[in-house]
Symmetry: C2
Subunit: 223 residues, 2 copies
DNA sequence: GTCTATACGCCGATAGAC
DNA sequence: GTCTATCGGCGTATAGAC
């Protein structure tokens, strides 16, 4: 109780650095953002960033983790709730569990832009972060999607999942289509449209199970 | 005829810089690639890059333009050929005109990765380049797509076009889905899958005209 | 016209004083 | 926990060699 009390000064410094770094990373990207610019905006000494986070990469990891972790928890929670129902799921509800936590359950307002930017960085930067933060989410959702599209060859499904992630990243990066103004409603509409678009793309040529109001598209799978 | 002869030394230097820059930009991104690393790999003096291209941004523009220009010419050529036919086009043939030039007609083998990387850079870098290289292609193809999806509200179509571009960028960036090895065949398969996926996503809920073998998906447009 | 040497003010990181 | 001083490397610009 005595020596373990919180040090408000430290916590303040840490959070000010995280806030400043987040804004600058989103705007200019990781490599083009200097620790000096971050320190100036956060009104802390240059060396403080290195003391608290070890390196610029460590800072990026902390910036990202603080917002994405609760979203990924919510995603898994929703998927597990669906799977507990023991009926066969629809593609639509799986994708809602994946994408709606980006706008529901109070995610930080800067998370979408931050995700869009970080996923766009070179692989050397994204790889360790994505493996740490998304390994479980990606594996579980991909497995759930395989179950509702049992006739789709796995190599086709891999491509389609990949294409869906690309749509998501691009959508998060801009949060409104080119030529339109950003608004909270516009972004919500975009998430809905991302779900619709992904359902159509993933299920093309497949008979969707367990969803009587979704009709079938009988086109051949490829070629 | 006399003084206008080519200077091989100059041309060699310019091209060596372009080749070296291209490889390093793809691997590490724009901001993380130093002019010193480029000059070293190209075996030229540091200042040569500035002499030939004015700045690092100028170099990026030249690197990109030399490969994307012929591809965009081919795209427009194919679209114009389709439009000259004076029948109503299918979404599928429009998207083939847009995406097949990435694998047909001998585009440079490093173009896909280069496109994927450049489109992923922060907006301050991509904006002038995209406006210069893609303004006409984007406008013409979007107009062609509007024509074959006349009942789709324009704000929905904008979102879907945006989502399609995101899929393309992500696909070009990795050229094989996560967990698969790259091969030329794999990439070709990916372009085909991109076309299929985009046709399904763009036309969701719409009656496709002029394409009797494509069936209709009667789901509501959104929600 | 083509290229080189050099210099300026930034950068990320760190060692050590307080 | 914070700060100053300092390191080698960075993008860019330019003066002048050839």
């Amino acid at each position: 109780m005595s020596t373990k009390s919180v040090q408000p000064k430290n916590i303040d410094t840490r959070d000010r650095i995280l806030d400043a770094a987040e804004e600058l990373f989103v705007e200019h990207g990781f490599a083009a953002t200097s620790l000096r610019a971050i320190a100036t905006r956060a009104d802390v000494n240059l060396a403080a960033t290195n003391y608290h986070f070890g390196s610029k990469m460590g800072l990026l990891g902390s910036v990202f983790h603080r917002h994405i972790f609760p979203v990924n928890e919510e995603r898994l929670k929703r998927l597990k709730a669906l799977e507990r129902s023991e009926r066969s799921l629809t593609l639509n509800e799986i994708l809602e569990a994946l994408f709606l936590p980006l706008i529901e359950g109070l995610p930080h307002e800067r998370l979408p832009a931050l995700m869009g930017r970080i996923f766009s960085e070179p692989e050397s930067i994204t790889k360790p972060i994505i493996e740490k933060e998304f390994a479980e989410v990606a594996a579980r959702f991909q497995a759930a999607i395989v179950k509702v599209l049992p006739d789709l060859p796995i190599e086709i499904l891999r491509w389609r999942f990949h294409l869906m992630i690309g749509s998501m990243i691009h959508m998060l990066k801009f949060q409104s289509p080119i030529g339109s103004e950003y608004s909270r409603d516009m972004f919500t509409k975009g998430i809905e449209e991302l779900i619709n678009y992904s359902v159509a793309g993933l299920s093309r040529g497949q008979n969707l199970q367990g969803n009587p109001d979704q009709q079938v598209n009988h086109q051949e799978i490829s070629k």
